[in-house]
Symmetry: C2
Subunit: 330 residues, 2 copies
């Protein structure tokens, strides 16, 4: 049977079990030109929370009653499509379910010989591309500049900080646990990391960024963004990647210091990785090269239990329980 997790209600605040329903359907049968995909790994992303809301966004909302949208690595287990052979693996958006019939559109083959499969949801996938394009195309780092990245031990943040170091920046992370801070400094080479749960972020930033902040890669929004705004340099860039602190908030925190952008000729710029997909291949190749040379480290946190563990696994993101890319094994 095909176990599916469907969105039944639009969550208010934190998503809860009653917002979802599990259904079991017969495993579908591929027709001519189609194939059957068995989900192997499901990507957990903070952006999923946004897809649950009924608002205009860069992707349409998940419809009520539909299988929850998710990036996936799937295995081809039956094929009537000459472009895909049984046993091959593909990246796609099969959603939070065990099986999907596909005609091959919008799928990308990935090889377990090149890298562990979950890495194609992380550093060598959408997550890595988000870090790569957000930092390099929006953040525009220059050697010697100071880069601050929040969500530093998260899937995107850890790549951003490492690419920042590769580009010669002074890199300061912000994370929510001592162990996460130690990890990004000791293992990933960040220059410093602030534990926002126990430190005064403003004071710690002044200490670790004596030359001010040139780039703030924002994964969290909220009060930390507001604090950073008071310490940006002239011509600073703030790539706006996410706002995980806000996704479940019923009342949003607005950046009251936004006029710092004006007096510093600085910019706050949103970006969506989907805008860059036509440039994805060389970016992935460059990151794969860094991985092989040991200049970039990837980390995935794999949760067992399959489709039925979707919600508790998603909640780990909002509770700050993951380090690196969070993936659910299906």
């Amino acid at each position: 049977m095909n176990l599916q997790c469907r969105l039944m209600h639009r969550p208010v605040g934190m998503p809860k079990a009653s917002d979802f329903a599990f259904t079991e359907e017969p495993i579908p049968t591929p027709q001519e030109g189609e194939m059957l995909l068995k989900t192997r790994y499901i990507s957990l992303d903070p952006a999923m929370r946004g897809w649950m809301n009924d608002v205009k966004s860069y992707l349409p909302p998940v419809k009520l009653g539909d299988v929850m949208r998710a990036g996936t690595i799937s295995e081809v287990v039956a094929s009537n499509n000459s472009n895909f052979a049984v046993g091959e693996f593909v990246f796609g958006s099969a959603g939070v379910q065990d099986y999907l019939v596909s005609n091959g559109k919008d799928l990308m083959k990935v090889s377990p010989q090149l890298a562990p499969l979950p890495m194609f949801l992380g550093t060598l996938g959408i997550t890595g591309l988000t870090a790569y394009f957000g930092l390099l195309h929006v953040g525009l780092p220059k050697a010697g500049e100071t880069l601050v990245v929040s969500g530093a031990a998260g899937a995107v943040g850890m790549i951003v900080g490492q690419i920042g170091k590769l580009k010669g920046c002074h890199v300061v992370g912000i994370a929510g646990e001592k162990e996460k801070c130690e990890y990004v400094v000791n293992e990933l080479g960040f220059d410093a990391c602030i534990n926002y749960k126990v430190e005064n972020v403003g004071k710690a930033l002044r200490q670790h960024c004596p030359n001010g902040i040139d780039i703030y890669f924002d994964n969290v929004g909220g009060e930390i963004l507001d604090t950073v705004l008071t310490q940006i340099n002239k011509f600073a860039r703030i790539p706006l990647c996410g706002a995980i602190s806000q996704y479940n908030a019923t009342e949003s925190y607005a950046p009251k210091n936004y006029l710092s952008l004006l007096v510093n000729s600085a910019k706050l710029e949103g970006f969506i990785v989907l805008n860059y997909m036509n440039q994805a291949l060389p970016a992935i190749q460059e990151m794969a090269g860094w991985l092989m040379e040991g200049k970039l480290k990837s980390r995935e946190q794999i949760v067992q239990g399959g489709v039925k563990e979707f919600l508790p696994t998603l909640m780990m993101l909002f509770e700050g329980k993951n380090t690196g890319k969070l993936v659910l094994e299906a």
Copy 2:
């Protein structure tokens, strides 16, 4: 005697008479290489309010006890400097006072034969350059796009909208009086103008911007910025020029819809005209050309009464009483 208006206290909220003092000093005597300037026109700018605050900004705050900073057109009335002859006029920053001795540094000659002198504080001066660079270098207008400009009948806004029309944009202004709206539509050629004091801005924007908003040139900040954020298009640009609604606010209004920047891959970008001074001359020449061809209209509102009228004239800006560039005749 040299009548001077000095900043004595840092205003809280709206500036008031007791924040300033008038002093009379003997007219200074130019030494070798110097000249005596008699102030003829004083520029009134919303940014002056920011200069009164003791905060790090793009210019240092006016020191308590100092003559209030202001852009000026002055006449050379005595000269020991071979580069400047008596009877010539210069643009500079002589401040809110009748006389200044200068060595000629940071002055720019202006000619009453080319344009009325107050225009060199407006369309052919810093104000015009602010509109020009903010729209063309930050706003990046393309023909067919929709440009919304707040403070539409103000010195900067009226130029922004006209340049927007020259570049083929659909231009919608926002202003605070029926007469101002009529002026920018009937005299300056804006496509529409919303009176934010009587109309529902969100509803009016939906009506006048059926294709969404590509550029919002923000002179006012506050709630209008927040409303515009809900109607921006993908890749929208928001040049952040000013926030006149906020300059006297003791509690700032923060844009709670800023995450619209994220989902629309849009940017909110501050700029300061001083960044562009090395490109000022060709810009002024281009605008002078448009003026001569009748493609651009300039408007100055001249207040009589000299230095002692500084504060009541400044207040006209915050009370929305000016149309076009507000200038005090000294």
